[in-house]
Symmetry: C2
Amino acid sequence: MSEDPRTRMLAGAVDLMSRGGLPAASMRDLARHSGTPLGSTYHYFPGGKRQLALEAVRFADDQLRSWLGRSLEQGPVAGLREFLAVWRQILIDSDFEAGCPVLSVAVTEPRAEEAVSATRDAFVHWCELLSGSLREHGTPADTAEALALLIVTSVEGSIAMCRVEGSPRALDVIARTLEELTENALAQCTLTRTLDS
Amino acid sequence: MSEDPRTRMLAGAVDLMSRGGLPAASMRDLARHSGTPLGSTYHYFPGGKRQLALEAVRFADDQLRSWLGRSLEQGPVAGLREFLAVWRQILIDSDFEAGCPVLSVAVTEPRAEEAVSATRDAFVHWCELLSGSLREHGTPADTAEALALLIVTSVEGSIAMCRVEGSPRALDVIARTLEELTENALAQCTLTRTLDS
DNA sequence: TTCGTCATATGACGACCGTTATAACCCTAG
DNA sequence: CTAGGGTTATAACGGTCGTCATATGACGAA
């Protein structure tokens, strides 16, 4: 609750962004929402809203990468489950008013903004974490990449769909399919390895 | 180019929305963009921006449903290809500045707005069109629904990802996977029917 | 022609935006 | 205690937003 103001502002910006994209995260709302004075904003973020948006996206990216990386130590399926569980919790905790902050910025901002390239980095990071874990467990590189991309994109789409439906249905339905596909990719590789030996 | 002003405004609103969500579609920009006077906006849309947003989402929904429905007459795979091709074209024609207008509104707007429930309707419509075609070709209902949901969500996520990447890569990669999954679902059902007879 | 209706044009209103300047405050160093 | 830099508070700037009132034009009906 009482971290340093700068971190509080970043976390607040992530939360506001996840509810309506960057336009919904006004400097005044952000100051009120994070319990910091409006005047301080430009003390911590001299670059103004652009810098704040950029750092907020990276903040959300780092946070999810940390969660995802830790749970991937227990294998790709555990990582997938964590990936899904995190977003499901965010949806439910916010009564389906919040979604993925990275997607919100990706959709909302003009493509030239630095914050947008940070969203691309975030998506790529998540894909690489997942596909890397799949490859470590024997999945061929192209299959791993395709499956990781399918996971990230369908989860992002599902988050938005859940938000407008006011229900975690979409996320739960694709969860089953994605788990099957992942287990399938892993089983196929163990089969291959068995045949090779 | 010279349809009635009301339709021009709706099409213009869809285009602006697809580039940065509803906040990016200001009434002034829309008037300029669609070649209609600002004062006329409230003549055609007395409900103001809310009504315009609602109708614009339905407009985009109807348009895609028409395209999708027509191509689905040639089977689920043809429909899937059309679904992907439409978005790919929009991305490329706009130099990756435009995405899915429905997703933009879904992410941008507070959940209480009527326009948001129109986005939910759109997503549901597309899922139903796809899953309906799959069922018509013998796929079991639950499999059809899960696959259709996976298609719509992953395509939506991919559109956003392509936009920030400035490349159709994501869409092309998931296209292959989705086609395989669809053909698999169809093959499995014909196999089942063969065994039954 | 005169009127009335539909469409276009213009300008203004209050509200909020991002941003900045400036004044008050706290707290540690000397 | 005093001095001074880092932080907080307040007010204001120009600009854009959605919205509306009003004025001007087009044009068929009486």
